[in-house]
Every structure is written in structure tokens, then in C-alpha cells.
């Protein structure tokens, strides 16, 4: 009796999880499927598979050849990677400082750093725009990198702080006795110990940056500095929308995130679960 109940429970849970997965994947699948179809087929039969006459690679062709899409792609990649690098570096360093050292104002500083989670950075858009223009950084990738770094730091510091607190104090002390400087303790002892967390923070920070439309639109809408999300807009004209190209561009844009996720996923899962069970 007990075993049957357990069975039913597990079937139920899997049914829920499975339907959730389908629900979440459906829009994505729709984009990818329709990106391989002719314009007519997209509207005629949105849910149909790209077979026979419906199949068309025109969208991908125009994305790769007739547009600046590769440049937009490169811009997105540069902005995301450089921002990510700074978020991870400064986030981990700040978290190390507040979790490791006893100094006056420690609690105040850690709360101040984490407070950013509650205040959406977009509230400051106007001030940010003024600042960026005054600094002469309008229409540059640097502007985006600075803003995204600021945007990603609070949550990164929050996650890092929790994990760095769990790094054994004795290991750091032992490194001190071995004569390592505080910087080398951080880079050679602490960082290797929290690698799963770095993956977690990287994925969490990367996705909003890659997908963002707001700041590229406001801070760097120039032809040379467009990111993918903004670049897709060029296929959306005032009178006609090249749906095939839009969907193809979006499908390609999913790839980097997907690749990053596959690379980090094992570490990511370890990072998420070790918080709960201290594995």
C-alpha cells in the first residue's frame, strides 16, 4: 500500500514538472520552429513544422549576409563577457572583504552593497543617461559595461558573501602562516574553493545582460554599438516586419546563453544545492 502511494506521489510530481517544462519550452520552440519557415507559413500555420514548401532558410540568410547582425552579436558578446568579468571580480572581492575582515562599518557596508537588489537600476535611467553623456561615453560599449557591472554587483555580492562565509577560516589562516599576501589568499585559496558559486553567479548575471533591451536603446543606440536585442529591431520596419529574420536572429541569440549554461550547469547545480545542504 505504502509503495503504491509513493509511486503515485512520484508520478504526480513528475507530471507537474513535465507540464511545467513543456509550458516553459513552448514559446522557445515556437520561435525556433518558425524561424525555419516562410513568412506565409508562419502566419498560415504557426504551430506547423517546417516541412516541404513551408521550409525556408531565408531568415537565416538575411540575418547572416544582408545585415550587421554579426557585428551586433559581437557587441553583445563583448558587453556581456566584460561586464561578467567585472561583476565576478569585484563581487567576489567585495564579498571577501565584508565576510573575512573585521572593521568598523562592516555591517553598514555589506547592507549598503546588497541594498541595490531592492532598487531597480532602471529608476535611475535619466540620471545615468546624464552621467554617461557628461562623461562622453554615450554610444559606446563602455557605457553599457559600466551600467551592467553596477546592475549585477548587488546580487553577486549577496550570493558570494553567503558562500565565502562558509570557507573554513583555518585554511585562510594556514595560508597566512605560509606567507601568502591577502590578494594571493583570495585568488589562490578562496577562489578555487568557491568555483561552483562563480558559475552560479555567472549564469544569473549573464542572462539579464544578454537579454536587455532598455539600456542599449537609451545609452548606445548608435549603428556601431547596437547589441543583438536592439539589432533585431532593424527587421521590424514601420510598414513591414521580416518575421523570418526576426525569429532567426532571436534563435541564434539563444545559442551563447545555451552554451554557457551547458558548460556551467554541473557546477551551477552544485552551487545551488550546496547552499541548502552544505554538500
Amino acid at each position: 500500500m505504502r509503495r503504491i502511494q509513493d509511486r503515485l506521489g512520484s508520478v504526480g510530481i513528475h507530471a507537474i514538472l513535465l507540464s511545467w517544462t513543456l509550458l516553459a519550452l513552448f514559446p522557445l520552440a515556437l520561435i525556433v520552429v518558425n524561424s525555419f519557415k516562410t513568412r506565409k507559413a508562419i502566419f498560415g500555420d504557426p504551430l506547423g513544422l517546417p516541412t516541404g514548401k513551408a521550409l525556408s532558410l531565408k531568415g537565416y540568410e538575411s540575418v547572416m549576409t544582408n545585415s550587421d547582425f554579426p557585428m551586433f552579436f559581437g557587441n553583445s558578446l563583448i558587453v556581456t563577457c566584460v561586464s561578467l568579468f567585472f561583476i565576478l571580480l569585484f563581487g567576489a572581492m567585495a564579498a571577501h572583504a565584508v565576510s573575512e575582515y573585521r572593521f568598523k562599518g562592516n555591517t553598514f557596508i555589506s547592507i549598503y552593497l546588497i541594498l541595490g537588489i531592492m532598487v531597480p537600476i532602471r529608476l535611475g535611467t535619466v540620471a545615468l543617461l546624464n552621467l554617461i553623456v557628461d562623461m562622453g561615453l554615450a554610444n559606446t560599449l563602455t557605457a553599457l559595461i559600466l551600467v551592467y557591472t553596477a546592475q549585477g554587483l548587488p546580487i553577486a555580492i549577496f550570493i558570494f558573501t553567503e558562500f565565502l562565509r562558509s570557507v573554513s577560516r583555518e585554511i585562510k589562516d594556514s595560508a597566512r602562516i605560509d606567507g601568502l599576501s591577502e590578494y594571493r589568499i583570495f585568488f589562490e585559496v578562496v577562489i578555487p574553493l568557491v568555483r561552483p558559486v562563480i558559475a552560479t553567479v555567472a549564469v544569473f548575471s549573464m542572462i539579464p545582460i544578454w537579454n536587455d533591451l532598455w539600456f542599449p536603446l537609451i545609452l548606445s543606440p548608435g549603428e556601431e554599438t547596437r547589441t543583438v536585442t536592439l539589432g533585431v529591431q532593424q527587421f521590424i520596419g514601420q510598414y513591414t516586419v521580416q518575421w523570418g529574420s526576426v525569429l532567426a536572429a532571436l534563435s541564434v541569440a539563444i545559442l551563447p546563453v545555451l552554451i554557457m549554461y551547458v558548460i556551467f550547469s554541473r557546477q551551477l547545480i552544485r552551487g545551488i544545492t550546496s547552499g541548502a545542504v552544505k554538500g
Binding site: I171, D173, I177, D178
Partner: protein, 348 residues
């Protein structure tokens, strides 16, 4: 080879004083054990010697040189931690050589020292393993090896055996003792286990609440404890403390004379070690057996005395009692300890 000297060392955490005016000098090659209940400040003092905690006042000298303003790596010390504190991403060889590599010691010299340490500790077969692939005892050996390769003037051990199981603890205790006899380095060893303290130490420093209760060789502490705390802390099972009376230089328990003392007339505390008691028909300790534990070679009798006080005696395995039996024990007068009302031992 080095001496270690503490002069008036004090430590405050905020307004709380955790170390009170500590003065100690450790001779070259001596193994000194800091022992005391947890929270008594012994680990804090060790961390101060290592340079991991600052001093609130006082001086620390190693080998005649003042070191308390120096960073840990310049003090000529090496420390072994309770949790081993190995670098998890480095293999055994990497762990052993890490500090030397950082000091830019030549490769051949690093190899030489690492190999010597590995030979001493029997680590040669484990050199390419990661710490997570080692057992507790092996990890602790690597941690000790990491200290050896630094060729320090002073070794510091912070409860190194607390994380090991009982059998391994006994084994590693002997290993550390052998290591000390072989290297003849000055060593400071912190533990809360009095058996470790008794077996390892040349001298023991007994701590309580940031103050030294007594400093002496293990036998001095055992035979002439300065006060009730030391008497109760050293020795296993612990000493029995009984309320007694002193009259005309005689210590009386339930009106029977146990021993003589210079203590003035009035109530006093009598201390008797369980292992010094023996069955004696004329003995002063008379009571009924509550619990009898037989361990084969020896036996513990838990007695309920006539006035309601309880005591434990360690007898040899010949004896056999049942709960409720009456039992009479005696002790040689020179094995008795008398403590005054402040808990200080009265010289006999």
C-alpha cells in the same frame, strides 16, 4: 631550535578580557601543552603566538627576537590546525610544497624537504592524491608534514587530534611524540584532553578563563595540584572531593581520621584520587555500593557514603561487589589532598 617567551601578554575582545597578564617562557626543544576547558583562551593565545590575532598588550619573543609586530610568516613558526586546513585543490605534494614555492625556494630544495617530510610521516605512496581521497589520519599527517617542510623554530598545534576517532587519536598521539623526539623542536600543543596533555607534555600549562592556574610537569600537576580546579582537571577518572572537618590538625570524615593537615580548624575539602583508594576494613570511607563497573583488569566502585556524599574508587579486578553491598575503603595518608575554602591546596 628556539626559545619562546611571553611577557605580560593580554587580549581584549571589545570590553571582555580573554587573556590576563600571561607570562611564560618555553625552553629550547620543550613540548609545552596548553590545556583547559573550551573557551578558556588557550587557542586564542596560540593564535596570538602565531600572529593570527593581535596583542592588546605585552610582548612575544621567539629565539630572543621580538616578533609580536611581525606577520605570521616572518615568525619562524608553523601551525597544525584542528580541521587540517589542507588546500583541497592541491594534491599531497602540492600541499606540502606550497609554502616553499611561495617563498621562492629552489625546486631541488623543495623536493628534498618534501621528501624528507613524506618519509618521516609515511606519505610517499599518497603524494599524488587530493585531500578528499585521504582518511582523517592521513590528512592530519599531511597537515603535520606541511609544518615540517617549513623547518620552523616553533611548532604550534591547535587541537590536532580532536577530529579523529579514539583509536586513531591514540596512534597519532604516539606519532607526534616520536616526531618531537626526532626533530627536537620547540612545540606548543593546545588540547582540552588531559590524557593528551599528560602523555605528551614536558610541561603543562593549565588554563581557566584566560588565566594560568598552574604550570608544571605532568607529575607535578598530578601529585601537587595547586588548587581544586587543577586537581579535578588532571587525572582520569577525576579526583573525589569530599566535605570534611579539620580539628586539631586532623582531617575528619564522619568523625574518622583520614590524614593530618596544617589547615586551621573548621570545614575543609578533602581530595582523594580514585586510583589511590583500596579496600581496607579499617579505612575511613564507609558506604554502600551504588554502581559497580568491571572492566576486566580493573573495576570502578561508586560509593554512597554514610553522610550522603558520593565517591568513585578504582580497584583492581580481583574485587567483586553488588549494588547495595557495604564497602570500606582506605587510603595512604600521604596521597590525600586538603583544600582550603578558596580551593587552594594546603601543603601537608
Amino acid at each position: 631550535m628556539a626559545t619562546l617567551e611571553l611577557k605580560g601578554v593580554e587580549k581584549f575582545f571589545g570590553a571582555t578580557q580573554v587573556i590576563h597578564d600571561m607570562n611564560l617562557s618555553v625552553a629550547d626543544g620543550e613540548l609545552v601543552v596548553f590545556v583547559g576547558p573550551s573557551g578558556c583562551g588557550k587557542s586564542t593565545l596560540l593564535r596570538m603566538i602565531a600572529g593570527l590575532e593581535t596583542l592588546s598588550s605585552g610582548e612575544i619573543h621567539i629565539d630572543g627576537q621580538r616578533v609580536d609586530y611581525q606577520p605570521p610568516s616572518n615568525r619562524g613558526i608553523a601551525m597544525v590546525f584542528q580541521s587540517y586546513a589542507l588546500y583541497p585543490h592541491k594534491d599531497v605534494r602540492g600541499n606540502l610544497g606550497f609554502s616553499l614555492k611561495h617563498d621562492k625556494v629552489e625546486k631541488s630544495e623543495i623536493d628534498r624537504r618534501v621528501n624528507i617530510a613524506a618519509d618521516i610521516l609515511g606519505l610517499q605512496d599518497l603524494m599524488s592524491r587530493k585531500p578528499r581521497e585521504l582518511s582523517g589520519g592521513q590528512r592530519q599527517r599531511v597537515a603535520i608534514g606541511r609544518a615540517i617542510v617549513r623547518e620552523p623554530k616553533v611548532f604550534l598545534f591547535d587541537e590536532p587530534l580532536s577530529n579523529l576517532d579514539a583509536a586513531l587519536r591514540v596512534h597519532m598521539r604516539v606519532e607526534i611524540l616520536k616526531l618531537h623526539q626526532r626533530l627536537k623542536n620547540t612545540m606548543i600543543y593546545v588540547t582540552h584532553d588531559q590524557v593528551e596533555a599528560m602523555t605528551l607534555a614536558d610541561r603543562i600549562v593549565v588554563f581557566r578563563a584566560g588565566k594560568v592556574e598552574q604550570i608544571g610537569t605532568p607529575l607535578e600537576l598530578y601529585r601537587t595540584p595547586a588548587n581544586r580546579f587543577v586537581a579535578g582537571f588532571i587525572g582520569s577518572p577525576a579526583m573525589n572531593f569530599l566535605n570534611a572537618d579539620c580539628k586539631d590538625g586532623k582531617v575528619l570524615l564522619n568523625d574518622r581520621e583520614v590524614c593530618r593537615s596544617t589547615h586551621p580548624d573548621g570545614p575543609t575539602t578533602l581530595g582523594v584520587r580514585p586510583e589511590h583508594l583500596q579496600v581496607d576494613k579499617q579505612g575511613p570511607f564507609q558506604g554502600s555500593v551504588q554502581v559497580f563497573e568491571h572492566l576486566g583488569g580493573e573495576a570502578f566502585v561508586h560509593l554512597n557514603l554514610a553522610d550522603g556524599q558520593t565517591m568513585v574508587a578504582k580497584l583492581d579486578g580481583e574485587h567483586q561487589f553488588r549494588p547495595g553491598d557495604s564497602c570500606q575503603l582506605g587510603i595512604a595518608a600521604d596521597k590525600c589532598h586538603v583544600f582550603d575554602n578558596d580551593g587552594l591546596r594546603v601543603a601537608s
